[in-house]
Symmetry: C2
Subunit: 333 residues, 2 copies
């Protein structure tokens, strides 16, 4: 049970990644057998060869859970991040950016050969992003790097499904859940990707059925994959009956939440021109959680999620550029 009231709102464990974002086209994806809209893990050799063929790029700190924290911090929430970089230039960039947002980040940088993770993101003219992740140092997050006091100081522990792939961070996240639970904290989990679910469905179902997950974030494809049900509403009903809070986003079709067995729905927020959908799900989670922390209604949580997602898809990069507090104030005026 908690020894004291939480001093932070959310602590996340996630990939510490710098995004490398370039325009691309369908022909390039086809030529390299890349699945549009998905995420694939690549090794150092593939990272080098793919980068060599990519268009001129911009670099921007990313990582799914870290993006969600960036949104939460922009909405005034107090956050901490745990993730593994190396002591190289991209690691410095990642650490700078997350700390500049006021997010606590104390994970000690590695000094080995594995460089800071990068995600080569190809953005097609339809604003879809196809992600190619070289995990580098990020996959070596050791359980001993977990700051148990930090985790226990936050009302919510937020975990990134992507990080379930490599062995060390998976063990670290299991330990993080135990630490959070021991302090009576809530656990939020994002399913991240269909292919990640394919690789770890049994683990994820176990976490849910053992009651370790209080808030589950997903998108349409992910929830159907997790439930192994080829119908969105049926999949949502099936999983929604097994977690206290389920959120499932559906791009332009809006989002659905199931809270204590009751289904809620909200439309997507309007966007003038969709530029780059990278970070849409991450920022939806920011908005939803920020409103949830404030004790707002489920409808308000969905609406703030949709507004934060709408902001991030209107520009390149997966972190907010506009003033989310202002967007929130207008939404709830």
């Amino acid at each position: 049970m908690p020894a004291s009231a939480p001093s932070l709102d959310v602590v996340a464990v996630g990939n510490a990644i710098v995004d490398v974002i370039a325009k691309s086209d369908d022909a390039f994806l086809a030529e390299h057998a890349l699945t549009k809209g998905g995420m694939q893990l690549i090794d150092a050799e593939m990272a080098e060869s793919l980068y060599g063929e990519m268009d001129a790029a911009i670099e921007s700190s990313g990582g799914s859970a870290a993006n969600t924290l960036a949104g939460l911090a922009a909405l005034g929430k107090k956050c901490g991040f745990i993730g593994q970089v190396r002591d190289d230039q991209l690691g410095t960039v990642f650490a700078h950016d997350i700390r500049a947002l006021g997010i606590r980040f104390d994970t000690v940088a590695l000094t080995g050969d594995a460089p800071t993770a990068r995600c080569l993101i190809l953005v097609t003219p339809d604003a879809q992003r196809t992600m190619n992740t070289f995990l580098g140092a990020s996959q070596y997050l050791p359980a001993k790097a977990l700051d148990v006091d930090l985790i226990q100081s936050a009302a919510i522990l937020y975990l990134e499904g992507y990080l379930w792939d490599p062995e060390q961070p998976r063990a670290a996240m299991r330990a993080a859940i135990d630490a959070a639970r021991a302090a009576g904290r809530k656990v939020a989990f994002t399913l991240s990707d269909n292919f990640v679910i394919d690789r770890h469905r049994a683990d994820f179902i176990d976490l849910i059925d053992q009651g370790f997950i209080d808030i589950l974030f997903s998108n349409e494809g992910e929830i159907q994959s997790l439930a192994e049900i080829d119908d969105f509403e049926a999949a949502v009903a099936s999983i929604g009956a097994r977690v206290p809070v389920l959120v499932s986003t559906r791009s332009e079709k809006g989002a659905v939440a199931v809270v204590a067995g009751v289904r809620y729905e909200a439309p997507a927020a309007a966007v003038e021109t969709i530029v780059d959908t990278t970070g849409a799900g991450d920022l939806f989670a920011s908005g939803f959680l920020a409103a949830h922390i404030d004790g707002r209604s489920v409808e308000d949580c969905l609406a703030l999620g949709a507004a934060a997602a709408a902001e991030v898809i209107a520009h390149y990069g997966a972190r907010p550029e506009a003033d989310l507090k202002l967007i929130e104030a207008r939404l709830f005026a």
Copy 2:
């Protein structure tokens, strides 16, 4: 005299810099005694402390002459670049981005302690950029790194005034001028910055009066500083009488050119929302030179310069994002 017709359009010698771009405000500039709109050179210590206080940033390849080449390449011109990076992650980013644009870049990366140059760019809400440049490896470009064959293969040698500050690149640029002249090529030079002119006015005047510069790029403040005349038209008339082609940009007031003693003027191109003026002068030079290479009228050169500048100030970052060939086609339709 040229042994053969040039196979490239433009070869530039310039700083090889990665821009680190973050939003800022007037209070931050005042607190750090930074001159808005200017460029100051900073050392490693200042770079670290300023970066530590900056907002979350995006990284994007920059460097004034390299930006101009990016615009020229986007307009279909064949280009080569000479500039010094280190063999670190930011050096890899710079090299990747310039090569991805189809620009030849063969300068061998340094392996010493000096890291790849970065420019910490603070963008205020009025879209002005204030640049803080840590030159790192860029200042160690040795004259022996000059590829004389490359320089002599291009119709125009383009030189960046910023790079006149450090000793080695200054010597390299003098050697580059000699190489270009020996092959009968033209030399274009951009004045870069008022403070650079303050430090090197005598050198720049010498280059002009010895007839080493065929095309001189400047802005309003720079041309007045160079001429030491506190009146724009008088300064333009004074310097314009001494170079074959003088171009001087005046932000929203448009631009003036003096070609063979005749004065031309063009308005600025319309921009819906000015986001970040970084690269405006660099891209004006791209547009002007591209049209000049195509043998267009001075009016067309100014118009394409204005259009390319308008594109780059509509977004963060100093390199074009929209299709400049399409903008050119519409302009000259």
